[in-house]
């Protein structure tokens, strides 16, 4: 399996995937930590992928999304954005809206 196929499979099989520096328990970059905090504040279970542990994934994910930086958030296979976009969406309430649309968050609260 190529790196690109591996990424494709990972983001398809898991509803929410965060490619980040470090782990959700111990982020190793402030930008990654912000996205972890946001996901946790929404009580969202997610798969964290530590790109520092795998140089192929670290480069591969940048190629996959044509996006030069980490973190990168994927929801149901779709690239949502990096730290700035996720934060903006969260602050505007758009992230919650998107999660409701996708049936990940309940709509009745």
């Amino acid at each position: 399996m190529t790196v690109q196929e591996h990424i494709q499979q990972e983001i398809t099989e898991n509803p929410i995937v965060l490619y980040m520096k470090g782990t959700s328990q111990a982020p190793q970059c402030g930008f990654s930590a912000v996205v972890v905090q946001i996901l946790k504040s929404l009580n969202l279970p997610f798969k964290d992928v530590n790109v520092l542990a795998d140089p192929d994934i670290r480069q591969g994910i940048k190629d996959y999304s044509r996006w030069p930086t980490i973190p990168q958030l994927y929801i149901q296979g779709e690239f949502i954005g990096g730290c700035d976009i996720v934060r903006e969406m969260y602050q505007a309430g758009e992230l919650e809206e998107l999660l409701k649309e996708k049936g990940i968050l309940a709509t009745d609260h």
């Binding site: 044509r66 954005g81 990096g82 976009i85 903006e88 969406m89």
Partner: protein
Amino acid sequence: MPLPPKAIEDLLRQAFPQAVIHIHDLAGDHDHYQVTVLSNDFVGKSRVQQHQMVYQALQGKMGNELHAMALKTGPLPL
């Protein structure tokens, strides 16, 4: 490898001649920036597309010479 603000501005200006561009060197180390680009080129584009356009204007420097850049994009205010 740090990049001076003028170099960033020149690259952005080349790609977005009519834009309002703000570059703030957060730590004064030419390595941590807050950049705002307001341009009508962004009208009708998603946030991801807008940021991709900026990264493209920076010609591969983002993630290499440019380590940290908080980015804000949008259309020009009316």
